[in-house]
Subunit: 132 residues, 4 copies
Amino acid sequence: MEHLTEIKIRGYHADFYGHVNNARYLEFFEEDRWAQFESKIDLRKWAEKGLIFLVVNINVNYRRAVPVGETVLVTTKLEKIGNRSVVLKQEILLKESREVAADALITFVISDRSGKAVSMDGEIRTEVEKLQ
Amino acid sequence: MEHLTEIKIRGYHADFYGHVNNARYLEFFEEDRWAQFESKIDLRKWAEKGLIFLVVNINVNYRRAVPVGETVLVTTKLEKIGNRSVVLKQEILLKESREVAADALITFVISDRSGKAVSMDGEIRTEVEKLQ
Amino acid sequence: MEHLTEIKIRGYHADFYGHVNNARYLEFFEEDRWAQFESKIDLRKWAEKGLIFLVVNINVNYRRAVPVGETVLVTTKLEKIGNRSVVLKQEILLKESREVAADALITFVISDRSGKAVSMDGEIRTEVEKLQ
Amino acid sequence: MEHLTEIKIRGYHADFYGHVNNARYLEFFEEDRWAQFESKIDLRKWAEKGLIFLVVNINVNYRRAVPVGETVLVTTKLEKIGNRSVVLKQEILLKESREVAADALITFVISDRSGKAVSMDGEIRTEVEKLQ
């Protein structure tokens, strides 16, 4: 399967206006982030070291309403590795037409047990690069 | 205020069919359970003893669709104290007409650190009776 | 695929107590109801006739907490056809052990344009029996 | 009341990591947008003219985790009126310390029956300015 996350839009995903609600889109993005992370990096090892992912910014464009009954695909790509943060680019695509329904830049840091954002160096950088 | 929980129904509470979604009603019930518990019993003391509430059954009747823009009230009453379980009766009322939009029986147990449901005796029973 | 609905439990499905929240379970059940309906009956034809499904009662047992990382399957079976209502039996199973995490009886009516529950006769009964 | 939206954080608002989930924050922001709109402009008149609000971008900073039990306030201010779009600035504040837990810029357009974003002129601009 080319895409890890494929979701058929149901009535309970949409709000009163017949659109998939803004908040629900964030769940779709989160679903694919976890699916990608699980498939590419060893989350158990990270948890043992007390490292957790903390989203610090989400910048999302809602480009096209998704009707109930449509199927969407979610994609996640590594956009940029900063000194202490990582940016992912995510898209929600209509499966048939491949039109973009929404896209987002998601910035996260990796926090250690002291609550500090760690540097994107050495082993951590190598792991994060696997998200490519 | 007579009711602890008063919620104005917004477009994001309703699904595509213009009804407040089944799952959302459970959040409204949960909101009032916490509000009632907080106002009547010392949850901090319970947590220190390692006691937690575990819902084991919800039996909910959806009686009337709630339109967007309507305001609802949530009520919670102690229905029955069993040997190792407690039943609450909850209702969601249309604020103006006081018609019942949904009602539910919620059965919960109080679980200790070993994961066992404790008996509704002594101090625990006294505390639970405060939910009246 | 034996089951239409298979869900990997993520951190965002669980609440503060590490359990999949009560309300979220109802979404899992709803997801499989739609998947089953779509695979067995012609929902478009129903919509054209102005017929909609209205859930009137949910009676759900929460039997076992589902940890994050576990995968669950959802099942839906026709339990009973009444005069003007239908009861489905649904289960959420841990994929590996096949233990039941939750089960529910879902009672729905089929409402026509006038808002009345239709009789389970003739063509409608034949359609509903396909849910077997 | 100085703030229209005040929310006590419950266990069901938080995810497995003990943080209020990203998607839930968007619901808090949406709640206050509706509360502000209702208190300041005549939404019924807008609906009669076939005008609806469509969020096209959300840029949200998650600045501080909100623990269960804490109470938050939500604020909404008019940031900028563009040619065919409006930007609101929203904040989620810890009630006691007034620290910012999250802030967001929300860009929306007003769409007419043809699906086009209308110009921020005349009566529409006057109405939008009431959001100040």
